[in-house]
Amino acid sequence: MTAIAAGERVRPRASRDHWAMAAALVLIAALLVIFVALPLYTLLSKSFENADGGFVGLANFSKFLTTPALSISISNSLQIALAASFITTSLAFVYAYAITRSQMPLRALFKGLALLPLLAPSLLPGISLVYLFGNKGLVKEWLMGESIYGPIGIVMGEVFYTFPHAVMILVTALSITDGRLYEAAEVLGAGTVRKFFTVTVPAVRYGLVSAFFVVFTLVVTDFGIPKVIGGNYNVLATDVYKQVVGRNDFQMGAVVGMILLLPALLAFAVDRLVQRKQVALLSARAVPYIAKKSPGFDFAVLAFCAVVSLAILSMFAMAACASFVKLWPYNLELVWKHYDFDLTDGGSWTSFWNSIEMSALTAIFGTAVVFAGAYLVEKQTGFKKLRGVVQFLCMIPMAVPGLVLGVAYIFFFVDQANPLHVLYHSMAILVINTVAHFYTVAHLTAVTALKQMDGEFEAVSASLQVPVWRTFRRVTVPVAMPAILDISLYLFVSAMTTVSAVVFLYSPNTTLASVAVLNMDDAGDVAPAAAMAMMIVYTCIAVRLAHAVLSRAVLARTQAWRRR
């Protein structure tokens, strides 16, 4: 018998590549554990502790539920979220239906307009609504005596803020319907209405459910709009802020955070389920549905889309106007002074540059970590268990609202005993938190791009004895470049506009533009707040355009092979 006896398990000798990959995988896993799992664990344990760290079971929860002022927030939050979800989903459905199922002109433009709110912080609709319907509002008579400060304002703002998310989900759901079903229905003599209810609705019902839950979660966990326009109307999201930032009551903050996690987890579960069902709907032989021309219908949906887009645009226009006008509505002289943020209490140009820095760092480091992580999970063999763990950790952020993550971060990093306490109040913690917050969507984008690549590149490279990182650099990254650019754009814009997590984490040296909007508005400097919100919008638009130009240039250079 020689070295290995027959029947004895072969123990593969690991290559240098193998060890390098293992190290990288362990590193990614450690980062995700430290910056996602541990903070959430701290939040969980805080909600079961008293102020001195002793275990008190459910005492905090029962205290919360029996304090009328606090528990009323639950019912408020639910009402707002149900109303907003219902309105947004309905509007978005008709809008998405028009884009995908009609022959109305300018469909691409309307699709682009629907996505505009993604480029603004959620505070912007709050501010614009005040200008439009507030005490001195332009069209306040439209409310027929009702006040915009409170549920009405919140719901209107939330509809604006969540509209693009719902439209994206429903456009996807509507575009994957099999055109053959309609032909079949027609042959069977089904009328338009009958077709709609027997073919369209069943096919998109998963999309509708998913959109509803996503909007619901966004609304329940959004903090900007209720803060700006909510008046005395308390919701869960503003409660967290008050408990944690206002009263330093971490236990109560943790309880609300845990409660906010519930709808998000539910939405996440529903979304996963829906995705699985939706994939099954489209068989390989399905044909895309091509809408027929129908002048009456096309005109009706065109009118609808025009009204909705106008409403969206008017929110931007209102904020832009307010930022340039001396004193709305009394003195309409055009001035620059609202952009001189250094004169206000709540913010400064430094905040804006901080935001740019934070977003750029998030885009650069976030994209690098996300893409490397996705590559390790998707393209390496071996370490099955570890890869499974990393994959799971990558999905967690999707189920955690920014607000909850922000609170979890404070609890975790404020602790002097934590060696990572040095990060507290630094720019780094803002960057890390933002990457963690938006990790899942970025990860899934990278995974999709990697899945489209041939699965044997790594095997070819190993058999040619080329180190794996060389193939990663020379082949994987260039081929995935379009996705990499998309990920960095997504991270940059998200970092620019986010408020919910970072509002707990900034320090006097690291104030951010979005937080400055909040603080200026709070201090009564509403016009400068509008100006700062618009600065964020301008930046996002500029970056979006730069992304388009850059993508084209990079595509021309590295993807010449795509042209045949």
Partner: protein, 362 residues
């Protein structure tokens, strides 16, 4: 196999290799020797473990137990980068963002010292696979057959001792496939590189291989030259899988004799088998011949169906003495004209004893 034993020391030796995926046993005790410069085909139905065995040889998915030696070296546990193999994958896995030249030269970057020698080697390889003028193109600009040759050149660039091909021709259309078979085989002869090719296409294996390894459900059924595999299949599976074959249930009726219903045949292969044993008799359609009166194993049949195949004619024959059985026979067009084959007519045929194969009844 006597054939393998009198060869010199094998270049590749596979010894008792097993591979399991969880509880699924994908390779079962595979033992095989491959000589230097040999062209060996792994042939078997889809899912029988051909790719799994190939990947074990390459070190991509190392076997659970058993050993593999290459050129006398125990490579059982080594990663692909420490072995001496070139691989062409079923998908070719060409790098889409690199030109043909860069694809072919991909494995050379570290090896050839100078840029000039590298460029020279790539040019040489491209000439070898007849792609000299396509070097600047990207893979997407090439036809399937050209892509296949780029993948081949890339695998050969580092002059590996062993070339592994996983269904290299299966993605191509029939004409190109036919042409590339010859090209590939000629190239392999010229370079003298030991080659293992996986295929599920028996015609491909029969026309290209020095030796064929027929696999079924993770195990080797038979190893032999194409003529051996076709002419003397050693198991019913091989008999059935390779070419067309008539399967006839029979029982041993005497020394070297077997009976199919009322029909008794002389079967030399049966000597020594116990009377009454249930067996399966096999005969290829082309081995059923029109019989003269005195021929051995001759019997009368009725022609129940005729199929025109171009150069050949396929007839379904029902023996008069075994009316519940039917046989498929193939005759050349000229032959069938001479003997006058017509639907519903009768024909006297013979199954020569030395062309009959015997398998135990399962």
């Amino acid at each position: 196999m006597a054939h393998g034993a009198d060869r010199k020391k094998p270049y590749l030796r596979i010894e008792g290799v097993n591979k399991s995926f969880g509880s699924f046993h994908a390779l079962k005790n595979v033992t095989l020797d491959i000589a230097e410069r040999e062209f060996v085909c792994f042939l078997g139905p889809s899912g029988c473990g051909k790719t799994t065995l190939l990947r074990a040889i390459a070190g991509l998915d190392i076997q659970t137990t058993g050993r593999i030696f290459q050129a006398g070296r125990d490579v059982s546990a080594l990663p692909p980068s420490a072995r001496d193999v070139g691989i062409v994958f079923q998908s070719y896995a060409l790098f889409p963002n690199l030109s043909v030249i860069d694809n072919v030269g991909y494995g050379l970057a570290r090896r050839s010292t100078t840029r000039e020698s590298r460029r020279g080697r790539v040019a040489e390889l491209l000439a070898l696979v007849n792609l000299g003028e396509h070097g600047a193109k990207y893979p997407a600009q090439l036809s399937g057959g050209q892509q296949q040759r780029v993948a081949l050149a890339r695998a050969l660039a580092t002059s590996p001792g062993l070339l592994l091909l996983d269904e290299p021709l299966s993605a191509l259309d029939a004409k190109v496939r036919q042409y590339l078979r010859g090209e590939l085989r000629a190239l392999q002869r010229k370079l003298g590189v030991t080659t293992v090719m996986v295929t599920h296409d028996q015609e491909e294996a029969l026309t290209m291989a020095d030796r064929i390894v027929v696999m079924n459900a993770g195990a080797i059924e038979q190893v032999g030259t194409p003529a051996e595999i076709y002419g003397t299949p050693s198991t019913a599976f091989v008999a059935d899988f390779i070419g067309a074959m008539n399967f006839l249930p029979a029982s041993v009726s005497g020394a070297g004799r077997a009976r199919i219903e009322g029909l008794e045949l002389h079967v030399p292969a049966l000597n020594g088998t116990v009377m009454g044993t249930e067996i399966t008799l096999c005969c290829r359609p082309e081995d059923i011949v029109p019989a003269d009166d005195g021929a051995a194993n001759a019997f009368d049949t009725k022609i129940s169906a005729i199929e025109f195949l171009g150069p050949n004619l396929r007839a379904t024959l029902v023996p008069k003495d075994a009316a519940s059985r039917s046989l498929t026979a193939e005759f050349s067009a000229t032959q069938s004209r001479r003997i006058g084959i017509a639907l519903g007519g009768t024909l006297r045929v013979a199954m020569p004893g030395d062309r009959l194969h015997v398998f135990a009844r399962r």
